[in-house]
Symmetry: C2
Subunit: 429 residues, 2 copies
């Protein structure tokens, strides 16, 4: 018998309860052990009673759980950083293995927790913290472990992907779709951590740490959200054979790491371009395996519970062979993380320009002076006096682009620089 | 130091040699052990010398390898059933762990090998045997282990997917594209095991066994190849919003299993529909995780080596903790496998019919009499006297459809039944 202490019986917590019950028989065959939730830390006693737990299983005092010598595994599904972090560390210090779905925590306090797990020789599993039910952490640690991972690019936030998909398909503007998504329950009342890219940033910090064997923290991630994307850009993207996605990007080149979250145009031929609605995906490039992609539900009660229960099963298998901690922290190296200004890439620029002879030449000149070369220029005349220009650059440094834009902003023929959007995966076009 | 005995230094074998060398430094960090290929069984000594092996490492006698007490892991990359099966079993009996990429062997002799592994308490890993570098076996055994798996649908053969993609995009006929694929090295001189579906059948037998925890052998798989697909059907598929793929399908319903390989029309909205060219994918439906898909290179030297080396790393991690055999055979149950005639599905039927008054009513009557109801009928008049009919059925049993077709074949107004193609995943439309 394996005894679990469940911290938090909310959306995911109650999903775990249901799944362990629903598939208990086959899980017993796979592990040789009955798995029982012995105690639950939860403020809302009603919720637990409804799930069939006796009142004496439910507590608000963590001591009742971490001090129970019968409890083998702690499943932390409270969310937030504190007190989850203290609870986990306390539990590990008492020799308990830990499963969590808490990306906020790992992206900020990962190091402390891994150190404690290593010292205590306990398991720390967190597959559910990235991309919900999609196996993302485990393949990087195991099946793909023979590769030098060059890229991990994820669509890691279902809310923003739902919004962008809707905008792209129906030509609606951001605010309208967000409102709709909130009404449907796909976006939270306070959607800021989703739409400003913070949620995706936490997840890519975790994946980058594993992929590149070097700790990447939330603060290391350059983040831009999707609030500046609008229907006009979507329309032009389509004309250019591109799709817009909020990408979480981690790359490694010559021992240096870049990690960033921002909206990007990708060619419609790219496997990530057909990941629509609330679905998530993780695209990985390894030196041996080439391009692979894992696709599925990145959140939701049961998909997330699937990942949590997968982790529990692993820990039980480890316990059976006394091999807990067999895969611990994999951050052996300390690789430098590049600043966004040091990066190179292609850009889409939409700007309004006065329709004067020589205007285009003047603008092209500014780009040239700053070593930004243009791959294509599309002129659209909307207003009676203003032309809209769509420029696509060749590969150029972020710094050079910023310098060029600063000059352009000061020019009298330039009305407005409406949007600048990065291009990714153009080798797939 | 971990010593490997490599059996076969062909395409994949030499890929493994290269990968262990290329990423040896990080693999050492991940496992804490240096991994060395100590001996190679290979007829072609030249090949091994070129890779830098000393002559005394190369042998044609398996005894030199299995009797070497220093050798911990055997990596079998010979291919074929015999003598690979004897070599593997002999090695296990000497306490050695085994990694293989040999689907032919597992789909036929899986049971014997798993039994030996269990008795000997050694590891048997075979991630590379299905879908090359794409993690398929491991996620089913680990991350998704909490699910009751309802469906596994794969595009598991790159050659046929390349052919079908080309046919669909360029409207060419099967024979022409096959010839082209052979010239380009995407199809073998003898392409029969690919185009007749046998290769995919082996792989889906392996995945079904793991997904449903019940042994499925090659002979249990119903198999149809792609040779009857032609440009006309492709054209009509497009009109109907469908794409044709060679699917390897395993489903479980109420404790009963169905396993089959055949060409099928799927809606273009289905995630598998955008898997093109030589790429493979494994689509999985679990009761908790919902729909997920893994996509990537299903074959090739380095992608396959990636999976083999991932398995080697797992075995070394197990050795470090003395936990080999921690995940053995997962076929705990014996579930009945349904015959193809017991299955239900939707069908596309293309037939030539004499253009007579009442012809359509007569044909519809035959379907009705056999309990096959039609979802749509498209009439195309090509020849001066013959009309081409495209029929799509509602869900119906294979047996009823066969009965109806048998009657139709005998009718004087029916010129020819040109093709019958199954529809899959229509809930995604
Ligand atoms: N939901 C998803 O789809 C999803 C997907 C991936 C990962 N995750 C992660 O999974 C974790 C749980 O998410 P969730 O959606 O299940 O959240 P949730 O529904 O809010 O559940 C958390 C539960 O824990 C309780 N709780 C929090 N702090 C507590 C404390 N100190 N003492 C006692 N009870 C406490 C909460 O009670 P109150 O309601 O009274 O605060 C609530 O019942 C989070 O880390 C989240 O990021 C969620
Ligand atoms: N190639 C792929 O992309 C791929 C992908 C997934 C799985 N696999 C699987 O991986 C395995 C190896 O495939 P491969 O493509 O590497 O085949 P391969 O290139 O033909 O390599 C096999 C090697 O083993 C040697 N060999 C075979 N039997 C032998 C024996 N009894 N004694 C000594 N040497 C022997 C062969 O020598 P000779 O040439 O002299 O016979 C050849 O050098 C197969 O099971 C295959 O199904 C391959």
């Amino acid at each position: 018998m394996i005894n679990i202490g469940l911290l938090g019986c909310g959306t995911v917590g109650s999903g775990v309860v249901k799944l362990l019950e629903q598939n208990g028989e086959t899980i017993l065959k796979k592990t040789g052990k009955e798995i029982r939730i012995k105690k639950i830390l939860e403020r809302d006693v009603e919720k637990c009673l409804e799930l069939g737990f006796a009142e004496n299983c439910i507590t608000e005092d963590i001591k009742d759980i971490v001090d129970d010598p019968e409890i083998d595994i702690i499943v932390e599904l409270l969310g937030g950083i504190s007190p989850a972090d203290e609870f986990i560390i306390e539990a590990m210090e008492k020799g308990k293995h830990v499963v969590t779905a808490n990306k906020d925590l790992i992206a900020v306090k990962g190091q402390d927790i891994f150190d404690t797990a290593e010292n205590q020789k306990v398991d720390f599993y967190f597959e559910a913290s990235v991309a919900g039910g999609i196996p993302a952490v485990t393949p990087l640690k195991q099946s793909l472990a023979g590769n030098n991972i060059e890229e991990v690019i994820g669509i890691l936030n279902g809310t923003t992907n739902y919004i962008l998909t809707k905008m792209s398909r129906e030509g609606q503007d951001f605010d309208d779709v967000l409102k709709e998504a909130q009404d449907l329950g796909y976006a939270e009342a306070d959607p800021s951590s989703d739409v400003y890219g913070l949620d995706a940033a936490r997840k890519i910090a975790i994946l980058a740490s594993i992929a590149f064997n070097s700790r990447v923290m939330l603060d290391d991630v350059y983040v831009e959200g999707i609030t500046s994307i609008n229907a006009v850009d979507m329309e032009y993207a389509k004309e250019l054979g591109l799709e817009v996605k909020l990408l979480a990007i981690a790359k490694q080149e010559e021992g240096q790491i870049q990690v960033r979250v921002h909206p990007a145009f990708i060619p419609i031929e790219h496997p990530l371009a057909s990941v629509n609605g609330v679905y998530n995906a993780v695209f990985i490039k390894g030196d041996a395996v080439g391009d692979i992609m894992h696709y599925g539900s990145g959140a939701g009660q049961m998909p997330t519970a699937s990942a949590v229960v997968g982790d529990i099963i692993e820990i039980v298998r480890n316990k059976n062979y006394n091999s807990n901690a067999r895969i611990g922290c994999t951050c052996y190296d300390q690789k430098p993380i590049l600043n966004i200004n040091q990066l190179e890439g292609q850009f889409y620029i939409r700007m309004a320009v006065k329709d004067r002879p020589g205007a285009l030449a003047g603008i092209a000149g500014v780009f040239g002076n700053n070593n930004v070369s243009l791959s294509s220029v599309l002129q659209k005349t909307n207003d009676w006096d203003m032309a809209e220009l769509i420029l696509i650059t060749h590969n150029t440094s972020e710094q050079n682009l910023r310098d060029a834009l600063a000059v352009l902003k000061g020019m009298s023929i330039v009305g407005e620089i409406n949007n600048v959007i990065r291009l990714e995966g153009m080798d797939k076009k």
